[in-house]
Structures are given as C-alpha cells and as structure tokens.
Point group: C2
Chain length 222, copies 2
C-alpha cells in the first residue's frame, strides 16, 4: 500500500491573473482529490467558501503576499477579513527587510498580531528562504514557534528559489515538531513531494496537485 499524498497538498493558485473560473475549477479538484486545502487570493475567499462548504478541504488564503512589506496593521486587518469571510488558514509573508536587519522581535510581534486577528485560523508563516542564510532561517523558525503560529513555510513560490530538501530539514529541525512545516515553490512531481515529506514537510504547497495525483495512481496508489 502506498499512502496517498492528497492530505499533504495545499492546492494552490496564486498567480495575479487568476480568474474566478480557475478558482472554481481548483476548488472542485481539491474536493475530488481530498486535498488538505486550497490556497487562493484573498479576493476569492467568499467564492471559495461557498464552493467548499460542507467539504473537508480547508480554505487557505494569503496575507501580505508575496512581498510581505505592507504594514502590520494592514496584515492583521487582511487576516481578520479573510477569516470573517470563511478562510480557515492564513499564509502570511514576513517583512523580509526587518528580518535581514536582524529586527526579529518586530517580525515576531507582527506574526503575533496576525495570529490574534485570525481568531483560531491556522497561520502559516512564509520566510522566503532563498533570501536568508541558514542561521537566520533557524532563528526565524524559533520566532514563528514562539509567536503562536501553526506552520513555518519555506517560500512564496514567487521568489528566487522554491522549496529545497536542505531548507525543509533545517526548518523541521528548528521547529522540533511543535509546529508544522510547509514546503512550497517549484514542487511539480511526486518524487519531489516524497523527498520533502521525508525531510520533514507536513504540508506541500503546489499548483501541480492534479498531476501529482495522476502519478500516484499510475504508481499503484488507490
């Protein structure tokens, strides 16, 4: 028996030109395959909430995405609004500039604000690992743990690099099982998904979920 990758997958469509027709199709595929969540732009949360009502698929959206440099109050407002409209998970981009300047207290405080504003919805904190060195990735993961967020996440998928086995392993080691680890960016087939799960990823953000499920079925998955 080969365990299904479906419960790991955040079925994702975050391109700026995404349309409601595409969001509709994405939600239908997520329900069909039993994915963990869909991850979609905030403006489509009301639509997706209607489409996913009664299903087990979580509705995730993004806050401060993808550049992470809007002000903390705007991020908190954006999160609160999304949750009020039906989002159950919030993928939040940190302010990378503050992290690079070593102002980690400010980064943690901002995450806390979004966690509070999210009223129990799970917050996944995106670090954009391609712009950070290893000690900073580790220090930030400890801040994410302390902030009350539910996941640390490797990348926006729109930066210079995507998820790597190295980064997932590093984040998972720092998180010590106290929060989840979401890998995202450039994950396009089942082999990579398995590698990243082996390295410690508990959630996989990808726009190739349907293709990965096809592969899994061909390999003998049920």
């Amino acid at each position: 028996m080969i365990l299904s990758p479906a419960p790991y997958i955040d079925h994702t469509l975050l391109r700026p030109e995404a349309t409601s027709v595409q969001i509709r199709a994405l939600c239908e595929e997520a329900v069909e395959h039993g994915f963990a969540a869909v991850c979609i732009p905030p403006v489509f949360v009301p639509l997706a909430a209607d489409l996913l009502y009664g299903s087990e698929v979580a509705l995730a959206t993004v806050v401060g995405f993808p550049f992470g440099y809007c002000s903390p109050a705007v991020k908190a407002f954006e999160a609160a609004k999304a949750v009020a409209e039906g989002a159950r998970e919030i993928d939040l981009v940190i302010h990378l500039g503050a992290a690079l300047e070593g102002r980690l207290e400010a980064v943690e405080e901002e995450i806390r604000g979004v966690v509070r504003a999210s009223s129990g919805a799970k917050v996944k904190v995106i670090l954009e690992c391609s712009a950070l060195d290893d000690p900073l990735k580790e220090a930030l993961t400890l801040r994410v743990v302390a902030s009350g967020a539910a996941f640390v996440k490797t990348s926006t998928g729109f930066g210079a690099g995507g998820a790597s086995v190295h980064d997932v392993r590093l984040l998972a080691r720092a998180a010590q099982g106290r929060i989840g680890v979401k890998a995202s960016g450039g994950i396009r087939d089942l082999a990579i998904l398995k590698e990243l799960v082996d390295a410690g990823a508990t959630r996989i953000g990808t726009s190739s979920g349907a293709r990965i499920m096809d592969e899994w079925h061909r390999e003998g998955g049920k």
Copy 2:
C-alpha cells in the same frame, strides 16, 4: 539647454528585501536630485515621511502591490493608513483577474474606493499591461479616468514586461490629458526615459534615477 529629467522621476525601491538603510539612502538621493517622488513599500512610509519633511519630494507608496488581488476593503484600508502616515501618492494595483473577466465596473468601483480612502492623495492606477490586450488597456484607462484617479501606470515592474513606447502611447491617447501617464518597469537609461516622455509619459518610475541623472549631466545638463 537640456531640460532635466528629474521632475519626471519616481525614485523607486520596491524589492521585498529592501531595508531601512536603503530607504534612507533613496530618500536622500531623491532630495539631492529633486526627483518628483520616492516610491517605497508601505511599511517604510513613517520613516520616509520623517526624512522628506520640508522637501519638495512627494512620498509615494503602493497598495495591493504587486499582485492586486487583496480585497477592495483591504486596499482602501491600506491606502488610508499610508496617507495618515504621510504618503501623498498611492500606486494601486488593479485586480487583474476581474479585468481579464471583463468585470470593469468592479475594477472601477475598487479604484473609486481607494481614491475616496486616500483623502486627496494622488492615486496612480497600475494596469500591468503585459497581461492585457490593447482594447482592454484602453477600456481600463477610460475607467481609471472616470474613477477620479490621477494617473494610469503601465506596470508593476515585477510582471512579465515593463514599460513600452507602444503602451505609453496607447494609454496617453486614451487618457487625453485628463490624467497623467506613469511609465514603469525596466527603465534604466536616459534614452529610454526620453522616448517614453515623447510617447506621452508624464511620470517615470525607475530604480535607476541616480544613473539617469549622471547620464544627463554628462550630456551637458546643468
């Protein structure tokens, strides 16, 4: 006499990894050269407002940047907050998905909301021309004119393409002088700046302002 390009230039730093040290340098350069504005991330507006106080350089920031798909209420909140903190110009990204679906009324309504929230600050509306066909660019420019915004702008600078002479000419023709036209994306030298101004651009967004001024001085500008 060669007229200076300085009053056309929005001196721009919008990379996600921008730090406060870099924002400080940008503001100092803008004052030194007499640029029209600095264009910076929202989180740095309070810092830039302090630095630019008493100068003629306008403080511009971005809303819904760069993907444009946060909800209209979040865009209005982000604009109001930025203006309260000292921003005098707001570069707003439209919801591209709505535009591509032909929901131009929704696009216009969202712009109106940001214009209202901006309390007299000039709103520049970013279309991301590389994702649109010519009739849509023209129709959207008419909507921008109708919405009460002050400028239509070609690109975020982070999409598939930057400013082109073709697009600036098209937007300027549609705007008929009733609003300004800002060209941005990939403008790195004086020759391109001149071409775009000839085509109808009234403002140039670039991160190469200092270099362009050097060129201008070498050409004999005072």
